[in-house]
Assembly symmetry: C2
Homo-oligomer: 215 residues x 2
């Protein structure tokens, strides 16, 4: 499983950073890589600064130069996972012709599943069981709607704005079910609930993608 840990402290990287700042970002990235491996092996609740320090051959207090606390590190991991997925979804939505919404949304759906299967622990960290005792920062909500936006605009474009029906705006409803139906398949697959069952999850998923766009 590939763990790509890019640094995204965009503001800093824009101007020419001094060698100390460059080194700093490099170490931060290395810490996050080890953190993801740890989450992959023992789950998010087991994320431990001391264990990361040991793996890096460094003393534990040294890490406090880079992250204010364990929860601070966890926050960075979650936000970077959100950013990563948001970029993947946006790229998938942008890569298709703007004429019709269906191929754009198909592309988005495939990108989501690919990302989830490549990064199962990131997907579960974002959309699985919430980490107990941890409150996501407000920025998470912003990034969450950034992921949702291409889907919503896709359906809004495809449908006449027919005012609100009883209960739920139709474009919002279709965007929501797009999301819930695909999440239903992805999350069960990623959590291992399809192992040993006599069917191919990819086929099931493709069927759901087709169906959710057909109606």
């Amino acid at each position: 499983m590939l763990v790509s840990t890019r640094e995204e402290n965009v503001v800093v990287q824009e101007t020419t950073a001094g060698p100390r700042e460059r080194y700093r970002q490099q170490v931060r990235a290395e810490v996050q890589t080890h953190a993801w491996h740890q989450i992959a092996e023992a789950g998010a609740s087991a994320l431990s600064l001391k264990a990361i320090a040991k793996q890096m051959g460094i003393s534990a207090p040294a890490l406090y130069r880079y992250f204010a606390s364990r929860d601070d590190l966890l926050t960075e991991l979650i936000l970077s996972a959100y950013r990563d997925l948001a970029e993947v979804v946006e790229a998938a939505a942008a890569g298709q012709s703007a004429d019709s919404a269906a191929p754009r949304l198909t592309s988005v759906a495939q990108a989501m599943r690919d990302w989830a299967l490549t990064n199962p622990h990131r997907y579960l960290l974002l959309f699985g069981t919430p980490v107990p005792g941890y409150a996501a920062p407000p920025e998470a909500t912003t990034l969450s709607s950034r992921i949702f936006a291409p889907v919503l605009t896709g359906f809004s474009a495809a449908m006449p704005a027919s005012g609100s029906l009883p209960g739920l705006d139709p474009a919002l409803r279709r965007a929501l079910t797009f999301w819930t139906r695909l999440h239903g398949v992805i999350s069960l697959e990623v959590a291992g609930h399809f192992t040993g069952m006599p069917f191919d999850p990819a086929v099931l998923y493709a069927g759901e993608v087709e169906a959710v766009l057909a109606d």
Copy 2:
């Protein structure tokens, strides 16, 4: 939130149990109640025998009279959650007339959501992020198919057995999408991903139930 911890050591309970055995089952139940409260507050990874002992006003080693280890307790919790849900689903399926499948499946769908909202931590323990480093016992798979069975027979009855289409048997496919679509809504709601969004999850769910049975 109600935590009902029934003892289900059926074999023992059938014959008349001595007073010691009765007491033993009572304590086991009490331990499990405290365990669920603990999972609700700090997650499954934080499940701790010492903490339970402290809450019960008992010494920690005393618990080893009732559970062989921490993982043993966790296994009992998971199996009892599976059993509980299986009974709820079976009851919902049996409560309707056997004539047509649709009302039976609607009833099953509502029972599933009700159970999940009443027991969010149980639902997440069964179908959310897997507990790291913990392997579910084989019996879990058995109970899992017991939950799935009423759905599958519902769709099998409703459809002519038309042989296998390319990819996926039609009844299995519809039973699977029944499950994935409802899980998609339930899991996101239970994990708190709908909080603050401008719609009613119950309406969204009802719509999905209707749609999954309509086609």
